[in-house]
Amino acid sequence: MEKLNFQFESVPALPAADPALCGVVGSGNLEILLNAGDAPNLCVVEIKTAARGFADTWQAVIGAFAAAHPAGGTRIAINDMGATPAVVSLRLAQALAEYQGGVQ
């Protein structure tokens, strides 16, 4: 198990009342919990992953997500069981869309 922490600047997301939960902790998959954060232009991410040694890839995936989506003002907790970048990106997009209630 490896723990990683990142934060990226991002355009503020529409604040929502409820956190969003997406995905499941299963082989090749991951669970994402998206909560309101403190700084409105920061996306703060905490990752627990079963696959060690992919910090650079995580940084690139989260960085691209924060650049492409309005994800500022969020705190994202990830439990990963070896998901590919494709699955991570899809889950992040799903969680954010869920959090904002359909506004993209």
């Binding site: 494709a86 990106s89 869309a97």
Partner: protein, 554 residues
């Protein structure tokens, strides 16, 4: 004046006569008819096959003349040796035994699949000489040109006493093999699953067949085209949504072929749901060159599909196909007639799109399924996945693609050749690479060319989880390279993209992300699949689809 060439002009026929006489002298057939007792098959093979012969062993990715293959491998290498094998697929252990036991030393083929690693080892030990790796259609073509078999060993469902053959739904390669062999002085031997007084229909007439043998058990058929919907992932659903909305709908693709795999199975299962919601029923996917994929059942039942011509059949689909004779090509007896050569021709000339997957793709768009230590070959993909310069008839999809590629005054159209891949395979192996393993494999094989499955200049679109790259609209090799890097995700070559250039390509619509296509990622769930299990497929078929036991878990 030149003197007439002193040669005999019917040596093939005379040679054939001597082979048949040798068999007759052993009491095999001749005036006793064409039926050979199963315990004398080795005697027959040793009587009619000569050292140095070119032998076609029928076997492709589905049905296999497995009994004849095992029998040939059990022949004496003292009697039979230096055979040159021509066959679609090297799939069975006995196919490789021929080379390991010293009966054969040369091979021309299309695909090796599960035997790819053993084959690579034999090549490295120089115990096998590979003539070439072909597409199916290309190999069939050479059967009628410079690789005509002396002896063909084929598989049929049933024979009658005269030697007429019924091939059943898995007709596949048999007509091409038999025609080339029987009309050029060759010998045709068929293993059959049963002997019948009256055949349901005659697929091969008796005078093209020399011997039949009742095999101890029915010929093996691999259920190669069955994909369990339970294994389709949400990333595959997302990619299928992109393909349907960004390619199928935009070009109005009605005539197409799908490769094997879960990516295209996902598309088939989104037709009755996502594509129907987009109003695409009747506008896309009406005519197919395709094996009877069980995952196509929901689209057929939903009225999407008008016609399907098949290369071969698929285990468990026979009753469903018979009951849907408006859609599938079936005989007067009710059972399907497949034909690989004709279906490949349809895929080459009459389809507007091929969409399939690959294991590796380089920055020029060349793709390969060859990886180090395995010689796998191509099958039909390079034929389906190429833009045929011999095509002349127009269609809206073909014209639109042609104008994108060659400008508004184009004098020709363009086939859509779509590669659909996730950027990483299992164990985080990147699909997008700077150099294909095929180049290293070429060196280890001593081959003239690297085994590239689909050439980059034939590829029109690449679909990954990151988006769609339209290579037709690229105007320079640099743009093409950046378009590929721009959908290569977080692979090393994807991370090495020129970000400004990729954004420019996106502004011009050459690269499109899911959000550019108006795709809500929350819809990309398995709930969008018309069937989520094999049991769902059985239900869609009204109980007509009978999946093989390994796909039944209820």
């Amino acid at each position: 004046m030149n003197a007439p060439l002193p040669r005999q002009w019917d040596s093939l026929r005379q040679n054939r006569g001597r082979r048949l006489e040798r068999a007759a002298s052993l009491g095999l057939a001749g005036k006793n008819g064409k039926e050979i007792p199963v315990d004398r098959i080795i005697d027959l093979l040793e009587a009619v096959i000569q050292p140095g012969d070119r032998v076609c062993l029928e076997g492709n990715n589905q049905k296999q003349a497995d009994f004849l293959s095992e029998s040939l491998a059990d022949c004496s290498p003292e009697r039979i040796n230096h055979l040159s094998m021509v066959q679609s697929v090297l799939a069975l252990p006995s196919h490789v035994d021929l080379f390991e036991r010293g009966l054969a030393n040369r091979l021309d083929f299309s695909f090796s699949g599960p035997q790819g690693a053993r084959l690579a080892k034999l090549v490295q030990e120089q115990r096998i000489e590979i003539g070439a790796i072909h597409t199916y259609l290309e190999l069939f073509g050479r059967y009628f040109m410079d690789l005509t078999p002396n002896v063909a060993l084929i598989a049929a469902q049933a024979a009658d006493a005269e030697g007429n053959l019924y091939l059943g739904p898995n007709t596949e390669d048999t007509p091409a093999i038999v025609e080339a062999t029987a009309f050029k002085g060759g010998i045709v031997i068929a293993q059959v699953n049963e002997r019948l007084d009256k055949l349901p229909r005659v697929d091969v007439p008796a005078d093209w067949v020399d011997f039949t043998v009742l095999a101890p058990k029915p010929n093996y058929i691999e259920p190669l085209f069955t994909r369990d919907p339970a294994q389709i992932t949400e990333v595959q659903v997302l990619m299928a949504m992109m393909a349907i909305k960004g390619i199928y709908a935009e070009y109005g693709v009605t005539r197409l072929n799908h490769g094997i795999g879960f990516d295209t199975a996902a598309i088939e299962l989104l037709l009755p749901t996502y594509a129907a919601d987009l109003g695409l029923k009747g506008k896309i996917c009406t005519h197919w060159a395709l094996n009877p994929h069980p995952t196509l059942i929901p689209a057929i039942e939903s009225g999407f599909v008008e016609s399907v011509h098949c290369f071969g059949s698929e285990v468990g689909m026979d009753a469903y196909i018979s009951a849907r004779s408006d859609v599938f090509f079936t005989g007067a007896d009710g059972s399907m007639r497949s034909n690989r050569a004709f279906s490949q021709t349809a895929g080459l000339y009459a389809c507007d799109m091929f969409i399939g997957s690959t294991l590796q793709m380089d920055m020029a768009g060349n793709s390969s399924t060859a990886t180090l230590g395995r010689i796998t070959g191509f099958g039909g993909a390079p034929n389906m996945g190429s833009d045929p310069h011999g095509r002349r008839h127009a269609s809206p999809a073909w014209l639109k693609a042609g104008r994108e590629a060659y400008g508004p005054n184009a004098i020709r159209g363009r086939k859509l050749v779509v590669q659909m891949v996730e950027t990483f395979r299992e164990h985080m192996a990147p699909v997008f690479v700077e150099e294909l393993d095929a180049w290293k494999l070429q060196k280890s094989m001593g081959a003239e060319l690297p085994p590239i499955m689909i050439y980059g200049d034939d590829v029109s679109h690449i679909v990954t989880e990151e988006g769609i790259a339209n290579l037709l609209l690229c105007r320079s090799p640099e743009e093409r390279e950046q378009a590929i890097r721009g959908v290569a995700g977080f692979t090393p070559v994807g991370m090495a993209r020129d970000k400004a250039m990729v954004e420019n390509l996106r502004d011009r619509g050459i690269i499109r992300r899911p959000e550019d296509l108006g795709i809500d990622p929350r819809m990309a769930t398995r709930d969008l699949l018309a069937a989520r299990s094999v049991k769902d497929l059985v239900r869609w078929s009204g109980g007509l689809y009978a999946p093989p036991s390994r796909f039944r878990n209820w």
